[in-house]
């Protein structure tokens, strides 16, 4: 990469009012450190606590989705596992956006797409009913979390969640998700 390329990349990021942007291997330690930075930054900006808590919530859910589900993982004996993905937090007018992107096996895409399409079309009331239902049931098969992270993000988002799946190669698609607060 040329110096100029990197500067262009930085300018592109800054033009989107990005507070934080990460592309690489994520671990729980990094999530903890970034959470601390987000709290410090939003507190310094006098962001309302209810809002900054939601921003933090969305960031941790998205980042932990990457550490749990990204297929691009490194498992070392001594070190904690790390997973490859991207996360960004920024502002658009008076709103915050939180986005993430990682590769997903094509075989898992239809079920994930169906789940997210349903969520993005639901009203707050419908989301709440589904949320309560999931809370009372066992976690979905293959889910390491509580399988309610997406529902909770949809509930906390002030606009319908946005997402897409773009062809990456024969085995993987690139999954990108955006929520707004």
């Amino acid at each position: 990469m040329l110096l100029n390329d990197f500067r262009t990349l930085k300018e592109m990021i800054e033009a989107k009012n990005v507070i934080f942007c990460y592309n690489g291997y994520l671990s729980q330690e990094i999530i903890v450190a970034v959470s601390s930075m987000i709290k410090g930054k939003l507190s310094a900006d006098a962001t309302k606590m209810g809002i900054s808590q939601k921003v933090l919530y969305m960031f941790v859910e998205q980042a932990q989705n990457i550490t749990r589900y990204s297929p691009d993982q490194i498992q070392n004996q001594e070190e904690a596992s790390m997973s490859y993905g991207s996360v960004a937090i920024g502002t658009e007018g008076d709103k915050f956006y939180i986005m993430c992107s990682n590769r997903v096996e094509k075989t898992k895409v239809p079920a994930l797409r169906e789940k997210l399409e349903a969520l993005s079309a639901m009203s707050q009331e419908e989301l709440k009913v589904l949320y309560k239902e999931k809370m009372r049931s066992e976690a979905d098969e293959g889910s390491k979390g509580a399988s309610i992270g997406f529902i909770e993000m949809a509930r906390k988002s002030s606009e319908p969640i946005e997402f897409d799946f773009i062809e990456n190669d024969e085995i993987f698609d690139c999954f990108t998700l955006k929520v707004v607060i």
């Binding site: 729980q28 999530i31 903890v32 959470s35 309302k48 606590m49 209810g50 808590q53 939601k54 933090l56 919530y57 941790v60 859910e61 932990q64 550490t67 904690a80 949320y131 309560k132 809370m135 009372r136 976690a139 390491k144 979390g145 509580a146 309610i148 992270g149 909770e152 906390k156």
Partner: protein, 123 residues
């Protein structure tokens, strides 16, 4: 009385099975929620289900928790609802005055329990 000190991703937990006063305070977003909470919640629920005509108090002051932790607390509240038939159960849900996110979580939990005295305490 058992005290589990807080870590950066787990809350301080105080379990007093003699007085039946319990508290959870801090943040909760461990990478493996079940690995952290199962050894705490399984014996706690067994103890609670053996209580009769007792005063049981739970104090929560959780500033941040992830969705997997929410499910752990949801399950605990369902046990509290069950035992409230034979006991007097009180939940004190503390939150920062400006933290409406934590307050909303408390509202979700409150809706799950019928016979429990649920107090919101803004700090």
């Amino acid at each position: 009385m058992k005290t589990i000190p807080a870590t950066v991703t787990t809350p301080k937990i105080v379990l007093d099975t003699h007085t039946n006063v319990y508290s959870f305070e801090g943040e909760s977003y461990p990478e493996d929620v079940n690995a952290f909470f199962d050894p705490i919640m399984v014996p706690l629920k067994t103890h609670l289900k053996n209580q009769q005509d007792s005063n049981i108090q739970f104090d929560f002051f959780l500033t941040y928790f992830n969705s997997a932790s929410t499910k752990v607390f949801f399950n605990l509240f369902s046990t509290l609802d069950e035992i409230s038939e034979f006991n007097t159960v009180t939940v004190n849900w503390k939150h920062h005055e400006e933290d409406d996110t934590a307050e909303e979580f408390g509202q979700d939990f409150k809706e799950e329990i019928n016979n429990v005295q649920f107090n919101f305490i803004a700090i």
